[in-house]
């Protein structure tokens, strides 16, 4: 898998793409940790746009859980959006949809941040 991190004026956008399995999880975790630490410093919300994410296992879910906790501890919003159907199924079954803010698409996620 690969992930891009986009630092925008009013938010940080993380875009993972491909397969987030046990092998990819450690590298992705490091990238996400850095992005959230940066975002906390400038008090900017974090959006994880999963439009390109095809697969996630429990090792991958763990990254989302740690990210949500770091963001909360740093008092910045953390929103996950654009889950593909199979990834959404794993989110739903694991109960992560109840502890992490999941939005249907990027527009809804950004609207929530800007309050528009």
């Amino acid at each position: 898998m690969n992930a891009s991190i986009e630092i925008l004026p009013n938010m940080t956008c993380i875009r993972p793409a491909g397969r987030l399995d046990f092998e990819a999880a450690a590298t992705f975790q490091t990238q996400v940790d850095q992005a959230i630490a940066e975002s906390v410093k400038r008090s900017a919300p974090v959006v994880m746009d999963c439009n390109g994410l095809e697969y996630v296992s429990s090792a991958g879910l763990r990254v989302f859980l740690v990210a949500a906790r770091s963001a909360k501890a740093g008092s910045v919003a953390f929103i996950v959006c654009s889950l593909t159907p199979s990834v959404k199924e794993v989110f739903d079954v694991s109960g992560f949809g109840r502890i992490i803010d999941v939005q249907a698409d990027f527009a809804t996620a950004t609207a929530k941040i800007t309050g528009a």
């Binding site: 399995d21 429990s58 090792a59 763990r62 859980l65 694991s94």
Partner: protein
Amino acid sequence: MTHSTIVPATAPELETLRKSLGDFWLENHLPPGDLMTFELALEEIFINVVSYGVAQTPGTVVEMRLSLNDHVMSLVHIDQGFPFNPLEKELPDVNAALEDRPIGGLGIFLVEELMDTVSYQRHDNKNELHMSKRLSKPD
């Protein structure tokens, strides 16, 4: 239609098993939407076994048996590790709050939820985890 793949019990071999599963899927024209459930089950069980179950016994192998019967897909994961029934593990509280949510223990829970049946047998000094799911009908 059955298929067996045997690999050394080391983490990088997950790729070999996944390839074998993907080939089985294509050859039998199975619905792509169900593939991820089986890929996930394979990863969760295999990685758990190679990380803990056979860690004390180097040089062992894992066998993956695939079979398709009247649109019910079965995956049997067989390892030579010490007796270990993953289904006896305590399941995570999926209703816990963000702060209280345990980091581990989610893998086997996902497998149990996403498969129709999951059962464990100790057989011939091997651990066998049987998983099956009725595949969705093509549109």
